[in-house]
Amino acid sequence: MALINVAAKEIHGKIVYYGPGLSGKTTNLQYIHSRIPSTTKGDLLSIATETERTLFFDFLPLDLGKVHGFTIRFHLYTVPGQVLYERTRVAVLNGADGVVFVADAQRDRLADNLQSLRELAQNLTTQGKRFLDYPIVMQYNKMDMPDALPTPVLDRYLNTIKAPRFEAVAPEGKGVFETLRAVSKLVVNKL
């Protein structure tokens, strides 16, 4: 839930990057952190395993500055993608105002994407949210891989809700900020 603190003149929103393991959620946050001005960002916090896989979450606070006297803040989180950590994903998703679903565009990951997307829908529904009305942006990552599925195919399987979607190559930054802008706008439009 977004928090509007009238006394402190602050608005906080929480955005969660969701998706199957190794789809590039952490890479999105790392790229944002590497490119955004230092006045806008806090430290990127990662709770990861020894092999650099996300164990709990990554966290990146962003501060847009003042708009009409209110400070607008977004907190970006990633969930751990591995199937094992389903309950951890539920915890991180709690109170989210918007979600970026980071799909791995490679052909052999389609089933993993579908499973993760179904789980997201179920978790949001359990938290009392209407999945179809919820601020979600799709990101098709790894579009530079030779076996990446074409966008229309990914649309057909993954984006039946017709959410805004972006092709991405996260390590190069392609699509990363477009995705962030889109989900941020969806969140503020719900305020």
């Binding site: 839930m1 977004a2 928090l3 509007i4 603190n5 009238v6 006394a7 402190a8 906080h12 929480k14 490119r35 955004i36 001005p37 806008t40 806090g42 430290d43 916090l45 709770i47 709990f56 979450f57 966290f59 606070p61 962003l62 847009l64 500055g65 708009v67 009409h68 209110f70 607008i72 907190h75 989180y77 309950r87 951890t88 915890a91 991180v92 709690n94 109170g95 989210a96 105002d97 009392g128 949210k129 209407r130 190069e172 930054g173 392609k174 990363v176 900020f177 962030l180 802008r181 941020s184 706008k185 969140v187 503020v188 439009n189 719900k190 305020l191």
Partner: protein, 178 residues
């Protein structure tokens, strides 16, 4: 005027709420000798905090403490407990007590060896009860009272998002590739 979506924006903390919460936290600090105290929601966002001067990186602390609490609730679920309502973390110098406030928030108290754990536990319970009343009133206000995001502000925020969340280097690179 837009209305805040009840599913998303169901907490608007007014100046009066903030004054009550702050007074509560200040009294807790004064009575216990704790170093910091804060109220954080379960999604990790800090509603209010008070400290005796020095201030750690609060934003990250809020996210981590909410995550720790969430993780502990999963442990409770596995053990068929309703919940663990109090968490205690002990370090060599600092200790942290986290108490649930109503169903949506957490009261966090950070204190050193000078403060007395038993006293803190007792006063924390009393404080959670007062805070719970204040926050539940805030949350139960009708949605119409939560209106406040004007069309102009929405446009200004959207423009700011475009400005701040831009990636000039990537744009330059794309133009070079073209």
């Amino acid at each position: 005027m837009y209305e805040f979506d009840p599913d998303l924006s169901n907490l608007r903390v007014t100046e009066e709420d903030t004054a009550q919460i702050s007074a509560c936290l200040q009294r807790l600090l004064a009575d216990t000798g704790a170093s910091y105290t804060m109220v954080v929601d379960r999604s990790g966002q800090i509603l209010a905090y008070e400290s005796d001067g020095l201030r750690p990186e609060m934003t990250h602390l809020g996210a981590l403490l909410a995550a720790t609490y969430a993780s502990t609730q999963e442990i409770a679920r596995i053990l068929n407990e309703d919940s663990f309502r109090t968490l205690l973390q002990e370090g060599l110098r600092e200790k942290i007590i986290t108490e649930t406030v109503a169903n949506h928030w957490l009261l966090v108290i950070i204190f050193d060896q000078q403060a007395h754990l038993g006293l803190i536990k007792v006063l924390a319970k009393r404080t959670t009860s007062i805070l719970g009343n204040v926050l539940e009133v805030a949350q139960s206000r009708p949605v119409s009272e939560n209106s406040g995001f004007s069309r102009r502000m929405l446009q200004a925020t959207t423009d700011t998002i475009d400005l701040v969340f831009s990636d000039d280097e990537a744009k330059d690179r794309d133009e070079e590739n073209d």
